[in-house]
């Protein structure tokens, strides 16, 4: 039987840690896509990325009507944080699988998303 961990992890919430680890591997994504590949509630993901952006950890930009999130490259601790998250993501099979699914989603030729 699979036992769900109650740990909030290094970043204070399970959703926050999962989102950050995934962004450490895939560079950028948007809330609906993150919610889908992580199987998290969209409202939880939206609130989490908004909080992380307000704290300066994530940055976003609009592409059409879609807000893309990525680690904030001007955040004071961006280089070590990016390195840490990539390592954490790579050592977590669930995150690696989510990243693989996200990268394999169909994209029209030359489409930026």
């Amino acid at each position: 039987m699979m036992v769900q961990s109650l740990s909030r992890g290094l970043f204070g919430s399970r959703a926050r840690e999962r989102i950050l680890k995934l962004l450490g591997l895939v560079e950028r994504s948007y809330a609906r896509e993150l919610a889908k590949v992580l199987d998290e509630d969209l409202s939880v993901v939206q609130r989490t990325v908004d909080d992380l952006e307000r704290d300066g950890v994530l940055a976003s930009r609009l592409v059409g009507r879609t807000r893309l999130f990525e680690l904030n490259r001007t955040y004071q601790h961006y280089p070590p944080l990016h390195d840490l998250l990539a390592r954490m993501g790579q050592s977590d099979p669930a995150t690696v699988e989510s990243a693989r699914r996200l990268r394999q989603r169909p994209r029209r030729a030359r489409k930026e998303l």
Binding site: R54, G56, R73, T74, Q76, Y78, P79, P80
Partner: protein, 195 residues
């Protein structure tokens, strides 16, 4: 303290906000593009004032201080004024450019008002950082314009040394962008000093 009207400039608003916060016991430092406008208003116009507050600032105190000036908190940490077009925001601290924490800043005075603001050299570094990290050409242009406007006070040697440290400690930023910027920076500063 007088409230602000539609004729207020960014600098007027910056002095008023910083002074109101200081009198309420909260230290705030103007940074980002608004600090660039403070030093080079002819070259770049920002409509958003970004202040970084010292750790532990109380939201109720900030609200009350800005309310005296006519500013009302919109969603999150953005403050709007019914008459002036300038918004006020408080990005997450601490004051930092790249991996470096900023502990020294300028304090300008105008009568009984004061303004804590990045030094011109730090404005140049801050705007360049946006170009370095994101490839933002507009930020590069602003960095060079501020450098030219404030040429006599820009410490190009310290900027070069800082970029060397960033590249050494965390080589995630593009060396070619840094090299291009340093060449342009020297040209901008030297040209102005010769005039």
């Amino acid at each position: 303290m007088s409230s602000l009207d539609a004729n207020a400039t960014l600098t007027d608003v910056a002095f008023a906000v910083c002074t109101a916060l200081e009198r309420a016991g909260e230290r705030a430092v103007l940074c980002g593009g608004s600090a660039a406008t403070f030093y080079a208003p002819e070259m770049y116009e920002s409509r958003d004032l970004d202040f970084v507050l010292q750790f532990g600032a109380r939201a109720t105190t900030i609200d009350a201080a800005l309310h005296q000036l006519g500013y009302i908190r919109a969603p999150e940490t953005l403050y709007r004024h019914p008459e002036t077009r300038f918004t006020v925001e408080f990005p997450a601290g601490p004051l930092a450019i790249g991996s470096e924490t900023i502990t020294k800043y300028a304090t300008e005075r105008r009568g009984d008002l004061l303004l804590h603001v990045y030094t011109p050299t730090d404005v140049v570094r801050d705007r360049f950082m946006h170009y370095w990290a994101w490839g933002d050409q507009r930020a590069l242009r602003v960095a060079l314009d501020v450098a030219a406007t404030c040429a006599s006070t820009i410490d190009t040697a310290s900027i070069r040394a800082w970029t060397d440290r960033e590249l050494r400690d965390a080589p995630v930023y593009d060396r070619a962008r840094r090299d291009h910027f340093l060449v342009e920076l020297e040209l901008a500063v030297t040209r102005r000093r010769l005039v």
